[in-house]
């Protein structure tokens, strides 16, 4: 007890612990006294040991006296505990991962308690819509993940931890920018052209989960089939992500800390040319453009650039610089850190969980960073024998800091600035290129601040009805206010230009951007209210178990925003009232709107002897998006399950733990498009100037479709789950098929280009999507010291567009037809390679029989495309749109994704890794990454080394040219499409848990140190350009994904 108190004292000194918790614990001995005085039995002191079935002591196990949670203890490093209790007391012994055990003291002074590891099979619970179910009797296809697996990974945004860990999840992280680096999630691929994102539910309510501290999440479950998503009605068709935060557990307080500090670097950095190489390329391009006697850079220039590149002593770095935008811009080893402290415990009647988190992430340049504070409190009280009241209070405060310039603009400038343009002079002043300074943009462009606060409140009251056994009612109110502020202060960017005519050189200061600072501020507030009434019934009659669920849910969201701006700040004070007082320099705006939906969900289940299960579920759902009469829909599902493993004839098969078959079919909906498309309406706003002043204008928005409604999904799923050899090996596999109809599509292909207005979407399309997903687990404890395991996931999903609008031009051409192909299929010209000298007549014209290309005169070394067709379906000697064909897979939804996560434990060391990958996906590279001098930009080393020349006709890139044939090269063609297959070491973690003796010495229950990494290694066999395979923008001009190395600590006090 002394040790506990001293630990809390230490913490309180650190100021880390709320004082009420300290107060509680200093009162502990008194409560014991009180308890003793009321106990019937005589108090005795019991000494005990808690061990596992291998007779290994369990450290930190909870022992509490039943009926008196205040009296308890925690086992020490040897698994021992001492407790003074009434001689007839019953002790509840529990430890995470083990089944808890009730042990009667019965007067004994020594106890030996053996805890069994949780039998994951029979007691494993899965989270489902509006509740939980036993995994063994569930008939739905779900995958889940305990976040203890990922909380120690150096990932601030939890959405980036799902890839590869859960079957059926396709996740793609498009950007690494702090505060904007969340992954796009797709459950079982893509089944619509509309909104493809899954519904995310946090603790029962639609909420954002990406900003929750991963340490605070207990479980993430993905609902995949109709049986699982039907209770979400018209929001469920794209799958559902259910996130459950941690709750208090019976037992003495457990206080723990997890934290890490890490360092980030881009996963890949494009290798740019140096100035000497650039100048050589420019000269070659000038020659190719038809100026054989004229070079852009003279011999003297070349020599001077070469000297700078070689670091010669007499180099003139300022007049002949050697810049490298990416290398110069990106600061290596930017910091990322996360700290989390949590306290949980409780008695039978009261459980609490409190947690605080802090995250900080620095950007590739120091003006970008991200900070977040998280809080989570989950309390529940048994107010009466039949009434349970729970309060969940969680929230986050985040602050994003960016420079005035957007990261896309900064990266664009980094790619664009050629090495011959000084980014920074030798005196450390920053230069400029095309009027913009890379350093100016990143460091001197003012700032953009985006603080936001989210509060999620849930109050629920659950009332059991004693007169009907198994029946309970629950009412839940959720109040989720959110506010976001945005402040942008743009300041003039000083840039410096070399005046080389002076001796010594002079550096002229000028300004990029506004002459005087500008300020823009905006404020947005939204309040979401969700009301739920839930009726639950569960009762077992002999071998028959009947369950029922009914839910009434209404949801309303009110959004309100306003903005203000001022220009021309004479005084440099970044407040809105400090700007110019000229009315023409002021502006403001704002609007508000309301969203509502209402639904009635149900689920009825029947289970016979855990062998045969049947369930129906569904929802009657309404939404404000649609016209009166089109607002409500009904979405039912039915599912069956058969636990073969429980059948009598299987009982003899000793090695088989579980064998279960599942089958489900049902309907679900998707709100694919936007609101109010049923109305023909007009927008309004400022519209130009009449009489030299701005005037208001109105315009037609779109032609309404009064019949618009939700998309309909019919989902079929068959699954098998089995587990053998005491859980050593288990597998869960599903085949799924989904038909999406009523799919929303823009009917613009049906009207001429002269039609003159955008049409609302219509429910006219259909597509189907099918595939398999599976996860397998292998775990083996080889001996006392060794434990090995592997978890694998695999998802294959392929969709086909069955009915979409397309023009005759594509539909009637089998190469170009969209119908019958997967969504996202890339179309373009098929590149045959380069024109050769043999293709031309002496006068420079193409030889007869070679198809002409309309994008300007071509020369040897220019891309040549295949003449596949003409307007009449046969090659016509002319390259035009009729020659387009399939050139790649979808970029954003790989057909196959997989993950492989080996784990290894040896004595006090543990190691786990995740290899994650995707295939059957393509990326179409563009701009500077493959085209030198794009937008008057720089070039890459790869382009320098491997472009077409008469001597290198088998090159990766066409001949260099600054003009004439750029349009020919820039056509979308197979030449720029790469197979984006990749495998990456998504995460790796090595931990060491301190041995007991050491812990004893420092007075902690548990201490683990670890090193952890994210995105450490990426293998892309077909992409030689140094770009991340998940790149959002295939021109490289985006904030790169980051590789992270981190070092951390887990402490249980």
């Amino acid at each position: 007890m002394n040790r506990i108190i001293s630990r809390f004292a230490l913490l309180s000194l650190m100021g880390l612990l709320p004082c009420q918790v300290r107060a509680n614990h200093s009162a502990l001995p008194d409560e014991v006294q009180v308890q003793n005085s009321f106990s019937i039995g005589k108090n005795i002191t019991v000494k005990g040991t808690v061990v596992d079935k291998n007779n290994e002591p369990i450290i930190g196990a909870n022992i509490i006296v039943r009926g008196n949670a205040g009296n308890g203890a925690i086992t020490d490093l040897n698994g021992n505990f001492t407790l003074t209790v009434p001689s007839d007391a019953v002790l509840t012994v529990s430890f995470i991962g083990y089944g808890s055990k009730e042990v009667p003291v019965a007067g004994k002074k020594t106890l030996h308690v053996v805890l069994e590891e949780d039998s994951e099979l029979l007691d494993e619970v899965v989270v489902v819509a509006y509740g939980t179910q036993k995994k063994i009797s569930s008939t739905a296809a779900v995958s889940s993940m305990k976040t203890k697996d990922v909380a120690q990974k150096p990932v601030i945004n939890i959405s980036n931890s799902l890839a590869g860990r859960m079957a059926g999840v396709i996740a793609k992280q498009g950007s690494g920018e702090p505060g904007a680096d969340g992954a796009d999630l797709r459950i079982r691929g893509v089944a619509t052209l509309g909104n493809q994102s899954p519904l995310v539910i946090v603790d029962g309510v639609p909420r954002d989960f990406s900003r929750i501290d991963p340490n605070m999440i207990e479980d993430i479950t993905i609902l995949k089939d109709a049986a699982a998503v039907a209770p979400y009605g018209m929001a469920g068709a794209n799958g559902v992500v259910l996130v459950t935060t941690k709750k208090g557990k019976n037992g003495a307080p457990v206080l723990s800390y997890n934290g890490y500090v890490g360092f980030q670097n881009p996963t890949r950095i494009t290798d740019q040319v140096n100035s000497y190489e650039y100048a050589l390329m420019k000269n070659e391009a000038a020659m190719n453009a038809g100026y054989p006697n004229y070079y852009a850079y003279s011999q003297h220039d070349l020599e001077m650039y070469r000297k700078t590149c070689e670091g010669a002593a007499d180099a003139d770095r300022d007049l002949y610089p050697n810049s490298n935008g990416l290398r110069d811009l990106i600061q290596g080893n930017s910091v990322i850190t996360n700290h989390n402290l949590q306290l949980s415990g409780g008695s039978e009647k009261f459980q609490y969980y409190v947690s605080l988190g802090y995250s900080y992430q620095e950007g590739m340049w120091s003006t970008t960073d991200y900070q977040r504070f998280n809080l989570l409190t989950n309390l529940s009280v048994d107010a009466t024998k039949y009434t349970k009241v729970s309060l969940g209070l969680s929230g986050w405060h985040e602050k994003k800091n960016y420079p005035g310039a957007e990261s896309g603009d900064i990266m664009y400038q980094a790619y664009r600035t050629p090495p011959v343009s000084a980014i920074q002079y030798s005196n450390s002043l920053w230069g400029q290129y095309v009027g913009k300074s890379l350093f100016g943009l990143a460091y001197h462009s003012g700032y953009r601040e985006e603080p936001a606060d989210q509060l999620n409140t849930t109050l629920s009251i659950e009332q059991k009805l004693p007169f009907i056994e198994g029946l309970s009612l629950k009412g839940v109110i959720n109040y989720d206010p959110y506010r976001k502020k945005n402040k942008k202060y743009f300041t003039p960017i000083p840039v410096y230009t070399l005046d080389a005519s002076q001796d010594p050189y002079q550096y002229m200061e000028g300004f990029q951007g506004p002459e005087k600072p500008n300020l823009e501020q905006s404020f947005e507030e939204s309040v979401s209210m969700t009301y739920q009434g839930i009726i639950n019934y569960a009762r077992t009659f002999g071998k028959h178990t009947v369950t029922g669920l009914g839910v009434v849910e209404a949801r309303e969201r009110n959004v309100w925003n306003m903005s203000a701006k001022r220009l021309n700040y004479g005084i440099n004070v970044d407040e809105i009232n400090a700007g110019s007082s000229n009315p023409a320099d002021m502006g403001n705006g704002g609007t508000s709107w309301k969203e509502r939906q209402v639904g009635y969900a149900f689920r009825l289940g029947y289970n016979y002897d855990n062998r045969y299960m049947a369930e129906v579920s569904g929802r009657y759902d309404g939404h404000y998006y649609f016209a009166p009469g089109k607002r409500f829909g009904f979405f039912p599902a039915v599912s069956l399950g058969w636990n073969l493993g429980e059948e009598a004839f299987m009982k003899n098969v000793e090695w088989m733990d579980k064998l279960k078959l599942r089958l489900s079919y049902g309907e679900s909906g998707n709100l694919a498009g936007g609101s109010y498309q049923y109305m023909s309406d007009y927008g309004f706003g400022t519209a130009g100037n009449i009489g030299g002043v701005p005037v208001m204008g109105m315009w037609e928005n779109l032609q309404g479709n009064p019949n618009i409604t939700w998309e309909k999904a019919k989902k079929f799923d068959v699954g098998v789950e089995f587990s053998i050899l005491n859980g050593m090996f288990s597998l869960e596999a599903d085949y799924f098929y989904e038909k999406r109809s009523n799919m929303l599509m823009a009917p613009n292909a049906l009207v001429p280009a002269e039609y003159g207005i955008t049409l609302s979407q219509v429910n006219a399309g259909s597509m189907h999507n099918q595939g398999i997903d599976l996860s397998l687990n292998f775990n083996k404890k080889i001996n006392k010291d060794w434990l090995v395991g592997v978890k694998g996931t695999f998802t294959f999903a392929r969709n086909i567009l069955d009915e979409v609008f397309e023009t005759d031009a594509t539909y009637n051409n089998p190469n170009r037809r969209r119908t019958g192909r997967p969504d996202g299929t890339m179309f373009g010209y098929h590149a045959l390679g380069y024109f050769t000298y043999d293709d031309f007549n002496p006068d420079g014209s193409l030889k007869a029989g070679i198809a002409t290309q309309p994008w300007g005169q071509v020369y040897p070394g220019d891309l040549r495309y295949e003449d596949l067709s003409g307007p009449d379906g046969v090659p016509d000697g002319k390259i035009d749109e009729h020659d387009q064909t399939v050139i790649g897979f979808s970029n954003w939804a790989p057909e196959i994704v997989f993950g492989l996560a080996p784990t290894l434990q040896w004595k006090n060391f543990d190691l786990n890794a995740l290899f994650q990958g995707a295939t059957r996906t393509s990326i179409s590279l563009g701009e500077t990454l493959v085209m030198p001098f794009f937008d008057s930009g720089s070039a890459t080393k790869l382009q320098f080394k491997d472009h077409w020349t008469p001597e290198n006709q088998d090159a990766r890139y066409p001949r260099l040219t600054s003009e004439v044939t750029v349009n020919n090269h820039r056509q979308g063609s197979s030449w720029w499409v790469r197979d984006a297959t990749y495998i990456r070491l998504k995460s790796l973690e090595i931990g060491y848990t301190l041995p007991r003796k050491a812990l004893d010495f420092i007075g902690l229950s548990s201490l683990r140190v670890y090193a952890s990494g994210q995105n450490l290694w990426t293998w892309t066999p077909f992409i030689k350009e140094l770009v991340d395979p998940e790149a959002k923008s295939a021109n490289g001009k985006y904030y790169m994904q980051q590789a992270v190395y981190a070092f951390g600590l887990n402490i249980t006090f």
Binding site: Y682, N689, V695, E754
Partner: protein, 581 residues
């Protein structure tokens, strides 16, 4: 299933009595960020707002990085990615790599659902306004004037399509596929389209006021409608559209332009420098312009001004006058530099030129914002001619002065769009030159000289034609002078592109767009301290005969089988496409 629905619905309603208001009603939310038909057409004030938005879609080029002079032989653009370089100079124009023109000037319609509006979106807005206001109970005076404005605007949008493509579908209805399947219109011939535009303008001209009060500036006037009509007629009379050289077409244009002159309200300003400043906005030379305001201003100085000013980059330099343009400025004595008597000195090319040269062009040694612009090679100037096109700095050795306001800081202007000089579509000098051209071609040389002189001699720019050519001038010589003066007078005002198209002088061995772009490289190669002025070939250009007409974008053909079936005829279409593509 119906039964289940009924049961559920009953249950829903029953529950909602307890828990919520009736489901349907609860989901009925009036949006606050949009209006319905009844609001927009409910009052003259509201309908005016609809018309305001149409005015706002006028393709003024004060804010565009690409401009029409780049597409012509007047200006070069350093940025490789701009349409002029990727598509025009390389003759890469095709149905799949068409260009929409600056500010989508001849963009047809929407290709997809999210791309920018084209002319048919604007035409629909006009049709809707005309339809709704005609049906409305608004006052007769409102209807008369506003309907005339809407028809003026519609004709304006059509004239871009007609100049770019020739004949186009003429749609004057509000298309609605819910009530009518007949939404696929064929292309009308170029002649029919011309007749539609000029008939419309002729019908409405008298419904428009002669002048606008200060709060109505920017709205259509009678002079604007007549000038547009005259310009369209001039285009129709020119070589491209008038291969038979029918003189009556010139006479028709001349008559309309004379009507503008006879309105008697337009005057030339003292010099061309008095046209593009905030102070001189709405002067008597302006016939039709797009108004600027501080909130919605222009960026010309940032886009088109000299790149380095006082050592720092102030502009993108997107308007780089070509050597060919510079060579077309006369000497102060009125003679072209090619005339042996002109006194032109190739070693001092910028001396003794006509006044408009100094008012229009920034050359090596000229002063801008108090600083000397130096483009010569080897003295370390940031504006040194950029022969590798690796920066925004001039590739020709020249920058633009005309149409820019010297008091405006370019870098600031680029960021803030605070240029306050209105964008002038039509001004009186243009009308005078058009008239001179029309009467000359119609056979009246003396009247042509009179009207040409008004422009040519303004502000002591040059001597009159009579003084320059005391021995008299031939019709062919005069045609050259008018064309050269038109080029010079209207340089950087987005007229040259249409002029060289209608004169049909782009292609062939002498084609102005079928030869390299020239610049001036001033260097001292032999180190003798004497600067040499060497012609510098900036870039090659190709112009194919088909490019006098823009290709009909492929998506237009793909979506309209009626157009696709149009072949032959007086315009020689092939599957609805202009010949040659």
């Amino acid at each position: 299933m119906m039964k289940i629905h009924a049961i559920i619905k009953t249950a829903c309603l029953a529950t909602s009595l307890v828990l919520f208001p009736a489901c349907e009603d609860w989901l009925e939310i009036e949006p606050k960020d949009r209006f319905s038909d009844t609001t927009v057409w409910g009052s003259e004030d509201n309908a005016d707002m609809f018309l305001n938005d149409i005015y706002n879609q006028f393709p003024h080029l004060n804010n565009e990085t690409q401009n029409l002079d780049q597409y012509s032989d007047n200006s070069y653009v350093g940025a490789e990615w701009m349409n002029a370089r990727t598509t025009i100079y390389t003759a890469a124009l095709s149905p799949t790599s068409w260009i929409p023109g600056p500010w989508d000037m001849w963009k047809w319609g929407r290709e997809g659902n999210s791309d920018a509006k084209g002319q048919y979106e604007r035409i629909r807005s006009c049709n809707l306004f005309i339809n709704k206001v005609t049906e409305s109970g608004f006052s007769d005076s409102y209807k008369k004037e506003r309907l005339a404005e809407a028809r003026f605007l519609r004709a304006w949008f059509y004239h871009y399509l007609w100049m770019a493509y020739g004949g186009v579908p003429i749609i004057t209805e509000v298309l609605d596929n819910n009530v009518d399947d007949d939404i696929f219109y064929p292309r009308e011939t170029a002649q029919k389209t011309f007749e539609f535009i000029t008939r419309e303008l002729g019908e409405i001209k008298d419904d428009l006021p002669l002048r606008r009060s200060s709060s109505e500036l920017g709205r259509a006037t009678k002079g604007a409608a007549l000038t547009l009509k005259g310009w369209v007629e001039l285009f129709h009379a020119s070589e491209l559209r008038n291969p038979d050289k029918d003189k009556s077409r010139w006479a028709m244009a001349a008559a309309t332009l004379k009507e503008v002159i006879d309105l008697g309200i337009y005057r030339l300003q003292p010099t061309i420098l008095d046209l593009w400043t905030e102070a001189t906005n709405n002067n008597d030379e302006v016939i039709y312009d797009f108004q600027m305001s501080k909130q919605n201003g222009g960026r010309r100085e940032g886009l088109f001004g000299p790149v380095f000013v006082k050592g720092v980059q102030a502009s993108w330099g997107n308007m780089q006058p070509t050597q060919e343009l510079v060579d077309d400025y006369c000497m102060a004595n009125g003679l072209p530099i090619t005339d042996p008597a002109s006194g032109y000195n190739p070693d001092r090319p910028y001396e003794n030129r006509e006044k408009r040269f100094y008012q229009s062009i920034l050359y090596d040694g000229s002063i801008w914002q108090g600083e000397e612009i130096i483009t010569r090679v080897g003295v370390g100037s940031p504006n040194e001619i950029d022969t590798s096109s690796s920066s925004d700095v001039t590739n020709t050795g020249y920058y633009t002065r005309k149409t820019l306001d010297e008091s405006v800081n370019g870098a600031d202007n680029l960021q803030m769009s605070n240029g306050m000089a209105n964008y002038i579509f039509f001004r009186y000098a243009d009308v005078l030159l058009m008239y001179a051209e029309a009467v000359l071609e119609a056979g009246d040389k003396n009247t042509a000289i009179d009207y040409l002189n008004m422009v040519r001699t303004r502000g002591d720019n040059m001597p009159s034609i009579e003084d320059t050519y005391p021995a008299g001038i031939t019709e062919n010589q005069l045609r050259d002078v008018i064309r050269r003066d038109r080029r010079i007078e209207l340089a950087f005002e987005d007229k040259r592109f249409w002029d060289i198209i209608r004169w049909k002088i782009c292609d062939g061995p002498d084609g102005v767009m079928n030869r390299p772009v020239g610049g001036m490289k001033i260097e001292d190669t032999d180190g003798d301290g004497v600067w040499e002025y060497n012609y510098h070939e900036v870039c090659q250009r190709t112009f194919l005969p088909r490019m006098y007409y823009q290709p009909i974008p492929q998506y237009v053909l793909d979506k309209n089988a009626v157009i696709r079936s149009q072949n032959g005829g007086e315009d020689g279409w092939v599957n609805g496409q202009n010949p040659g593509y």
